[in-house]
């Protein structure tokens, strides 16, 4: 039995996802709104403590470790789930909603997990449900992209699992707490590798731009929020003060910006920029002081909203026009002015303009860097923040809504402001971006440690305004350098994409040749004697056995038909049913024990 009454918000999302296909017609939209709201309410009324303890064989499983760190992440995740679901209300495919909700459930499960087993379970649920947000895009290349995403995440999951097993073997402890980062063992490094793959830390990052730019319009809104930020939570929980994360995070922050500058696809630009923003958080975890961890939480919170808003704004352009490339867009302010305003709020927020969310969140990590006398890191993170304004606030907005009009006549005619529910979702996100920036106690009171940081000082205001405005000056002086070109940028996925092609070549050419040779030999030396024998058996079968077997055969065929329908040989269908059955079994087990 449950140790006390405690309703896991992930359970609400899973049950909601299971019931969803049966809610049809007029009840569908209210249902889509109510379930995330209940999950949000469950987080709001949650008390700190340890809940939901179960015993499985020799192990104690903790589903509900509730403290200030997990609460602030659960709060923003469920809030974003409400906004993302509203944004996707137009989606008719109930399985897409289902996948999104299971994905959210996975993130919430990881956030409240108190031990490695529960964490791993929900970790994999995240990967295996989010991949459907790529597949449901339904393009010719979606299938391959989804498999690559899955393979990369499976590899990361295996590193994580190996780390957990070795750690358990060494310490006999399954609980997930702060690791001894001063003396990291091999197991701790493996766990860190599993984590930073999900956080898209180079060189383990190239799954992210590909997946997020190719997901469905509303799927990308979910993906931009959940995988990387859940991982940031896990890093903050286990790896605060792990020094190697500082250079990795700073490198990421700049790397993401450089690729975003080269990018022609607006959603891929946003995706590269996710890497840059998560870089701040990873570096903050590496700094590891109370102020830095506060900054990590604050920035994750703010970033989920303003990056989600950007994905919604650019997604609405894609939804209305079918285009996301700068070489096929431009001058849209006349046709989509409201989407422009919302996206602008997102862009200015993430760039850290005063009175908006980035100003009060990002600066906390940078200040923590200065406080810890890591001047190089603090200056480089400030440099990366000029890159944020440059590629989002200026480049992306300018090339979609202003600049040279590259729209075809068809694109131009299709472009109008998106449906009401999309505006509503963007409006909500924009509201929170402004609320966080204007009324700092709203966010600061949720942070895990007491906040000793005042963003609105004259010095910080003057610094920020100077950096941003002079970035704008540089942008307009060098604007000719930024004319979009129809290119893609090679990244480290080259190794497994080209490597995969090499493997296929090996499989089709040399290995196929050997296979053919063996086949020929078999046909000559094996087949002819076999034919003679089989002719005899055929006679025997025809005259003697048939009568006996006919009845049996009909039964077998019926079974075969039935199992064939269950298992159509399509990987996606298999994964979907497996994940579903696993989830149901888990719930049954938990309820029964």
């Amino acid at each position: 039995m449950m140790s006390d009454f405690w309703l896991h918000p992930a359970l609400i999302m899973i049950l909601g996802a299971l019931v969803l296909p049966f809610v049809r017609g007029a009840g569908r939209r209210p249902f889509l709104l109510v379930v995330p709201l209940i999950a949000f309410a469950a987080v709001l009324q949650m008390q700190e403590g340890i809940h939901g303890i179960f015993y499985f064989m020799d192990w104690q499983l903790t589903f509900g470790r509730v403290d200030r760190l997990s609460l602030v992440f659960a709060y923003i995740m469920t809030l974003m789930c409400i906004i993302g679901t509203i944004y996707g209300l137009h989606v008719e495919n109930e399985y897409e909603h289902q996948a999104a909700w299971l994905y959210v459930a996975g993130a919430l499960g990881v956030i409240f997990a108190g031990d490695f087993l529960v964490l791993f379970l929900f970790w994999e649920l995240m990967a295996f449900s989010s991949v459907f947000l790529i597949w449901f895009r339904g393009q010719a290349r979606s299938l391959a992209i989804g498999y690559r995403y899955l393979l990369v995440h499976t590899a990361g999951g295996l590193a994580l699992l190996a780390g957990f097993v070795l750690h358990y073997q060494a310490t006999g402890d399954l609980s997930f707490n702060q690791f001894d980062v001063a003396n990291p063992t091999f197991a701790i490094y493996l766990i860190m590798i599993g984590f930073i793959l999900n956080a898209a830390v180079p060189p383990l990052h190239s799954w992210l731009p590909e997946a997020y730019s190719e997901a469905t319009v509303s799927g990308a809104v979910f993906m931009s929020a959940f995988t990387t930020k859940t991982t940031v939570y896990a890093l903050a929980r286990g790896f605060a003060g792990m020094e190697i994360l500082i250079p990795l995070g700073v490198f990421m922050a700049i790397y993401g910006v450089v690729y975003a500058m080269l990018e022609n696809d607006a959603r891929r630009l946003l995706a590269y920029h996710v890497i840059s923003q998560v870089g701040y958080m990873v570096a903050g975890v590496g700094i590891g002081t109370q102020m830095a961890i506060n900054g990590v939480c604050a920035h994750a919170f703010a970033n989920i909203l303003n990056k989600g808003l950007l994905f919604m704004g650019v997604g609405s352009v894609l939804y209305m026009t079918g285009k996301a490339k700068f070489t096929e867009l431009g001058g849209l302010y006349k046709k989509m002015p409201l989407a422009l305003v919302f996206t602008l709020i997102g862009g200015l927020s993430i760039s850290g303009f005063p009175l908006l969310s980035g100003f009060v969140s990002k600066s906390m990590i940078v200040a923590a860097g200065f406080d810890a006398h890591l001047y190089w890191a603090a200056f480089l993170l400030t440099l990366a923040s000029t890159g944020t304004f440059l590629c989002l606030g200026l480049k992306a907005l300018y090339l979609i809504w202003f600049g040279k009009n590259n729209c075809s006549e068809e694109t131009w005619n299709k472009a109008t402001d998106p449906p009401l529910h999309m505006h509503l979702a963007m409006g909500l996100a924009a509201f929170f971006c402004i609320l966080i920036g204007v009324y700092t106690p709203y966010l600061y009171q949720m942070l895990p440690y007491p906040v000793d940081f005042a963003p609105y000082t004259a010095y910080h205001l003057a610094k920020t305004i100077q950096v941003l405005l002079f970035t704008a000056l540089g942008f307009f002086l060098l604007i000719d350098q930024l004319t979009p070109k129809p290119t893609i940028s090679l990244d480290l996925d080259w190794f497994y994409r080209r490597g995969g092609q090499l493997f296929l070549w090996l499989a089709t050419k040399p290995i196929q040749a050997v296979d053919t040779a063996v086949n020929n030999a078999y046909r000559t030396w094996g087949l002819i004697p076999l034919m003679i024998v089989s002719r005899f058996w055929s006679w025997f079968d025809w005259h003697i056995i048939d009568g006996v077997v006919d009845g049996l055969a009909r039964t077998v065929r019926w079974c075969g038909d039935w199992s064939r329908r269950l298992q159509a040989g399509q990987m996606q269908a298999n994964i979907f049913s497996t994940v579903f059955v696993m989830t149901v079994l888990l719930i049954l087990y938990v309820l029964a024990s």
Partner: protein, 84 residues
């Protein structure tokens, strides 16, 4: 309304640019003349007049030029690169 406002500004682009430049000058003057940096600046460099203006401008130019250079090294390639 939003469209009209943007068109209004577009039609007076020269004026908008001049106003923008005036704002830049005012911001630098704020830094040089009025700002109290004691107790806030962590490093000596930050106390130079207009330090963050110069930093922002150089950072912007660096990012644009370095990323362009990086792209030209063969990183930017044709869209159907992986299709063959």
């Amino acid at each position: 309304m939003i469209v009209k406002l943007i068109d209004f500004l577009y039609n007076r682009l020269k004026l908008v640019i001049r106003l923008g430049l005036v704002v830049l000058v005012l911001v630098v003057l704020w830094d040089v003349l009025l700002l109290d940096k004691e107790g806030y600046a962590y490093t000596a460099a930050e106390k130079l007049p207009g330090f963050w203006s110069i930093f922002g401008f150089i950072a912007c130019v660096l990012i644009i030029l370095v990323s362009k250079l990086f792209g030209r090294l063969g990183i930017m390639t044709r869209e159907d690169y992986y299709d063959e």
